[in-house]
Amino acid sequence: MLLTLAAGLPLPGAGKIFPYPYVQQDLPNGLRLITIPTDYPNIVSLYIVVGTASRNEVEPGKSGFAHLFEHLMFRGTPEFPPERYDAVLKNAGAASNAFTSDDYTAYHATFSKEDLPQILSLEADRFQHLAYDEAAFRTETLAVLGEYNKNSANPASRLRETVRATAFRTHSYRHTTMGFLADIQAMPGEYAYSRQFFDRYYRPEYTTIIVAGDVDPQRVRTLIDERWSTWKHGAYTAQIPAEPAQNAPRTAHVDWPSPTLPWVAVAYRGPAWSDDTEETVALDAVSRLAFGENSPLYQKLVIAEQKVDVLRAGPPEHLDPELFDIVARVKNPADLGAVEAQIVATAQQFAAAPIDEKKLQDLKEHLRYDFALQLDSSESIAHTLAAYVALRHTPESVNRYYDMYARLSTEDIRQAARKYLVESGRTVVTLTGSAK
């Protein structure tokens, strides 16, 4: 397998869940290139995945910098100042943007295939030669504050912030990707730190380029060699502090200043994401079978009794150990406690006894079709791969993850629930609105 990768030959697509052959190559400077010719004509989607995000924000007072950087990357270079950069993208008819998660930052653009050489030049230039002055920096920090403001009207944002800040005390997952409000408000004074951040992380060894669409891999490799091989390898590794074990349940409450429906979040400390143990897929299965639309709890609370109008759960899918969380929006504040108790009881049931085998088989079938339905454009193919590439640097991780799922047993699910959905690792946060 390694030899195949090194030679840059297409990997076999048959028999694996990811249906497209792809080419994975490493440049001498550490930059990884993944090219996927798809059967969608004329369009190319480019995803540049950088392995830095809010997880890397380990210094006090510096939360939100990875996300700020996502903004600053649009502030230009000596060769392509913002106006020229935008003009090139505009001439290409490109839809371009970026996003930041807890573990990675992704820059993406989708455009007509004839514009690939120019867009790769443009991106190579800004990743190597980003230049912004302090005045532009200070202005951009205000756009980030504006983004915080846009989200702040929604109580679900505050709920998420509070769950993180309560469940974590040491690890940088303590703050959300946006960062703490106080840190965002202090950003304008941190110009020097921003340059340091760029110097540390915007390096080839942190970066993977995904090119999906109407492309020839050899031609893409030539274009990448021409434009990206001058990028210099860096020397920085962040020391991410480990979160100590949680030994007792924690709770917190948010008083929302205006009327809203109450929320409850139940979060359990979970493991790091993995495609070589059953734990990650087992907890994913719990999130769907215990709390998904077809689960008995959802059917009871949302469809039959109609006490809850939102119920969803997310398994831990992070580089470091993170949370298995369940959130519910409750129609009547008087039901908040009972809903919390039913969520906890459902988690306990999954730990107590294996589920019905038929339900697991239905889930496995659902996931196979769900994955196929996701891949409905070159952009969605690149977008889907970006998440796996951020975790394991290779699209092969998709196949490994779904292979693990295919082997998953009802006993594996019970074991994972018993290990992680425990009282001592639990954090419960409630949020209620004002009467008027």
Partner: protein, 489 residues
């Protein structure tokens, strides 16, 4: 090939009901879009929200034979679902399935449309969802969407478009299943249905769908010749008062231009240059990038709901009447009045000076290619094809490319002068301290801005004009409403 096939199918539409738009292909995925050309414009005056709730119940409730739970259970292994959304003139049901499961999925979808169960528990749940979407989703959680929706409702006051699609809390409370059944009987007809099919469905499938949906009453198409909205004779401001961190603005006025009209391509170029989301438009550049006022500032000539979560509107929100709107994402309280003035200043500048030649060329080039990106999935392409059938224009990709190729800068600037203006504008703000804002908007004193970094002289000079930009607001032109009253009655 595809273009010819599509035109042929549309050409036959006049002779067979329901109309079918087909985009056959080799993909193992099949998309079905059922668009009923009916919506909130057909709500009875005392039952706003009826069209929306009827669509919600069809797409989110059980059938005669199956409860909603049984439908969810049946769809689960197939990883399929029915998505429903509705607007003034269209109610849309979308499903996508792997071709392996087409028969089973289509059977469920068909029964949901043709044999609804009208169950009381589904009705109660979905009516609650509507009420919560109004009170919590719009009023509580999303200031910018609240402002945008309130702007539309203000502009179309007294017009068939003049209420929220979701309705009002009071009207929803009085609604019955019989009301929904009455709406269904009258408006879910063959004449109001456009079926869209895309992907690798088998030969004969379209004929089967047509045969099945011939069970609907033949009917006559819903009206599209609505009266014009009221003329706006002054700047008018509505401030929605709520406890919030920042201030969101929306402003605009009706335009007599829709897709397919002669000036539409010219205004499309204007929109893209002035305010298309995330394409470094002029408003975004002057307000966010130069001044750091907020997260983004946009302008549109077609209805664009759910903009908080999307970069382009979904297809199948076609309307025969549209407005020009500017959408200013939440700004900090001290710069709220200034931000509104910048937007009006930029609008005024564009109306007076038009668009520069180089920007016209660049924007036209962008749109000519961007139309490919708009149709990156088969479902999107199908949605646009259905809209084109509704508007009576060639497929959207061809329509945009052909009309832009013929367009000149003079056409664009003439259309701007003809249809746009920077006065007689309806303005909606969502803010906490409305008293201070009213004083700033109606007073004579300028509302300057203080920056956290040095700005070029050109910006400082412009700011002096902006800070005192006249709003010509008389006391009676500004109205403050508590958020708790919005969408209630």
């Amino acid at each position: 090939m595809k273009e010819a096939a599509l035109s042929l199918l549309l050409a036959t539409a006049a002779f067979a009901q329901p109309r079918i738009v087909e985009l056959p292909g080799k993909s193992p995925l099949v998309t079905i879009r059922l668009v009923f050309t009916t919506g909130a414009a057909e709500d009875p005056a005392n039952k706003p929200g009826l069209a929306h709730l009827t669509g919600a119940l069809l797409g989110g409730g059980g059938t005669k034979d199956f409860t909603y739970k049984q439908i969810l259970d049946a769809m689960y292994p197939m990883a399929t679902a029915v998505e429903v959304y509705s607007d003034k003139e269209m109610t849309t049901f979308v499903g996508e399935t792997h071709v392996d499961n087409l028969d089973k999925f289509y059977g469920l979808l068909r029964d949901m449309m043709l044999h609804p169960g009208w169950r009381a528990d589904d009705f109660a749940r979905l009516r609650d969802d509507s009420v919560n979407a109004l009170r919590v989703g719009l009023r509580g959680n999303n200031d910018e969407e609240l402002g945008k929706e309130a702007l539309y409702n203000a502009i179309y006051s007294g017009h068939p478009y003049g209420h929220e699609n979701l309705g009002t809390v009071a009207a929803l409370g009085g609604m019955t299943i019989a009301d929904l059944q009455g709406f269904y009987k009258q408006h879910y007809t063959q004449a109001n249905l456009i079926v869209g099919l895309a992907g690798g469905y088998p030969a004969g499938f379209a004929a089967r769908v047509r045969g099945d949906f011939a069970a609907l009453p033949a009917g006559t198409p819903d009206r599209v010749d609505f009266p014009p909205p009221a003329v706006i004779t002054h700047n008018q401001v509505t401030l929605i008062q709520k406890d919030t961190r920042s201030v969101a603005w929306s402003l605009g006025f009706p335009i007599d231009v829709k897709r397919g009209d002669p000036d539409f391509p010219a205004l499309l170029v204007m929109q893209s240059w002035l305010g298309q989301h995330r394409s470094d438009c002029e408003l975004f550049h002057r307000m966010r990038e130069v001044r750091g006022l907020n997260y983004g500032d946009y302008a549109y000539i077609e209805y664009f709901p759910r903009g908080m979560f999307r970069f382009e509107p979904e297809p199948n929100l076609a309307r025969h009447q549209q407005i020009f709107q500017i959408w200013i994402r939440p700004v900090e309280v001290p710069t709220a009045a200034f931000s509104l003035r910048v937007a009006l200043f930029e609008l005024d500048k564009m109306v007076k000076n038009g668009i520069p030649q180089a920007e016209f060329e660049r924007t036209r080039s962008f749109l000519t290619k961007f139309v490919n990106v708009l149709m990156k999935t088969k479902s999107d392409e199908l949605g646009y094809a259905i809209d084109s059938a509704y508007y009576g224009i060639p497929n959207y990709n061809e329509y945009v490319k052909a009309s832009l190729a013929k367009l000149t800068l003079a056409d664009v600037n003439a259309a701007i002068k003809k249809h746009l203006r920077a006065d007689n504008v309806r303005i909606v703000g969502v803010a906490k301290d409305t008293g201070k804002l009213v004083a700033e908007l109606t007073g004579d004193a300028p509302t300057p801005i203080a920056y956290n970094s040095p700005k070029p002289q050109e910006v400082m000079d412009e700011d002096k004009i902006v800070a005192g930009w006249p709003l010509h607001l008389r006391p009676e032109d500004v109205k403050v409403v508590p958020v708790a009253s919005v969408f209630e009655n």
